[in-house]
Symmetry: C2
Subunit: 308 residues, 2 copies
């Protein structure tokens, strides 16, 4: 089924304990589209770049079935740029530079060819832009999933809450879930947040896996224990891309299928952290992904037997 | 198959954000024996108390099939006492009082009736006492599992390493695994620690579940998302008790059976935190445990389908 992603296509510069990069390709939209392209053969993207963005990367996206009609290229302007430095534990980071550039006045125009999508993934952006996209769609998608971050909770909680009312699946991390709900227990937080709109809530816990909440049901997805996390940038977006890509490819919106979609997303994310930026995502094959999914199955699979 | 536990039988006084207790029954040996008694109908315990320890609790243990021949009652001496206060997040705590009392000169005497056990659980005690027990057994048990803590790593690492050489399964938490190995990545830590002796390593991650490592195999057990953790005291011991009790009841030492044993231990531990001390463990029925295990199964169960 048809999939559309809204999210930044950008430059990153990253420092980790393992090394640093110059400006490399990043952005939530980029990671989501690259990740989901492993499952869906055609998709749309709504985004904006400046005239400094390399044509080669646009060609890579197009070759993977990403329709770029909705990607605005602003002549004379510069692409969004973020630079950050990870701490030794790789779980926290400092932002060194944020240059909004083309994102500052981003108006998400939806070309006619991007109408009538069935699955919509709203990558992390201002909640206002995210809501504008929903409002500009003539037909509501079958499923709207959304990522956000603590920054928007700090500075525009009211806008965020308006957008949350319109979506189906919210994907955030544990700290964000605690901030958004005011509850420490993730189980309690999941109830508070689902009263704000989304019927499904995914809470990402990094190296501790992810939780899916819906109604009275809960699913706990593991994370693969890794020897080394080389660069966590984009891991959350890669997860979201694998998740929505799997859903769009299978077309089924159900708790059971979301469980599978989370495993697919977790598998993709586990590759993403192995190298800087999008590098690893551009290398992996269908076979690599299948093997990684097998590892997730064996990681959590058990069968109880009755003790007499 | 026969099971023996070595561990403290003690008094605790606990403060949490939800309330505080006077002196109540605690101790690693108590929690392990109560928890494992859900799976094994007869077991031994090696421990020591003073003459201030209530006969009622000894009767409770005996009624659950715990042979108290190896429990020394020191006339004119006092039972081990620990008091602690949990912080608001319930993940960290301050020790307020530690009175070693009878534990200070604890000599773990093994009565003849406690020889020839097949499963041995060494609860957290000085590594020297733990090793003494192993050395005093005429026949090596089929499986020796052991718990320890960062305190012993701080003050007697050499003794701890000598004891680790003699055991099969080490059960510690993530911080302890990092301290013992000097590695941040739990996967790397698991290799370093297993080179110290134990062929199986269980790393407990509290609300994030537990990992089992053996050879090249890894298993990730979830923790049940709880609305409230009322009192975490003894949760780790309850986990260990459920684990070793399940293994002893089924008799099979294999990776697959240890996965089941970890789920059993996790289920028991999820009850233990619901009330102060041993209170909840003394209430639950076989049916409660089976239902909780079913919750764990549905929490992690998924089936992937092939995407064409």
């Amino acid at each position: 089924m048809s999939l559309m992603t809204v999210g930044s296509v950008a430059f990153d510069a990253i420092e980790t304990p393992f090394g640093k990069t110059d400006k490399i390709i990043g952005g939530a939209g980029t990671f989501i589209a690259l990740s989901s392209s492993n499952f869906v053969k055609e998709q749309k993207i709504i985004s904006v770049v400046g005239d400094d963005f390399p044509q080669e990367m646009l060609d890579v996206l197009a070759a993977r079935g990403v329709d770029l009609t909705g990607l605005q290229i602003k002549q004379g302007e510069k692409t969004f740029f973020w630079s950050g430095r990870y701490h030794n534990d790789m779980n926290s980071r400092d932002t060194l530079v944020t240059e909004l550039n083309v994102l500052e006045h981003f108006d998400p125009i939806i070309p006619e060819s991007c109408q009538n999508v069935e699955f919509l993934m709203l990558g992390n952006l201002t909640p206002t832009v995210q809501r504008t996209v929903i409002e500009r769609l003539k037909v509501r998608p079958k499923l709207i999933a959304m990522d956000t971050m603590n920054f928007w909770m700090d500075i525009m909680m009211d806008e965020l809450k308006k957008t949350l009312k319109l979506i189906d699946v919210l994907i955030i991390n544990d700290e964000e879930a605690r901030q958004l709900s005011g509850e420490y227990s993730l189980k309690k937080a999941s109830k508070v947040i689902r009263e704000m709109g989304p019927k499904y809530l995914i809470i990402k816990k990094g190296e501790h896996g992810a939780l899916l909440f819906h109604g009275e049901q809960t699913f706990f997805a593991p994370a693969l224990p890794l020897e080394e996390v080389f660069d966590p940038t984009g891991a959350g977006d890669t997860f979201a891309g694998g998740f929505i890509g799997y859903l769009a490819a299978t077309g089924e919106v159900s708790f059971d299928n979301m469980k599978r979609a989370i495993i697919a997303g977790s598998a993709l994310a586990s590759f993403s952290v192995e190298k800087f930026g999008t590098e690893r995502l551009l290398e992996i094959s269908q076979k690599d992904i299948e093997q990684r999914i097998e590892e997730f199955i064996s990681l959590t699979n058990f069968e109880m037997v009755q003790i007499v």
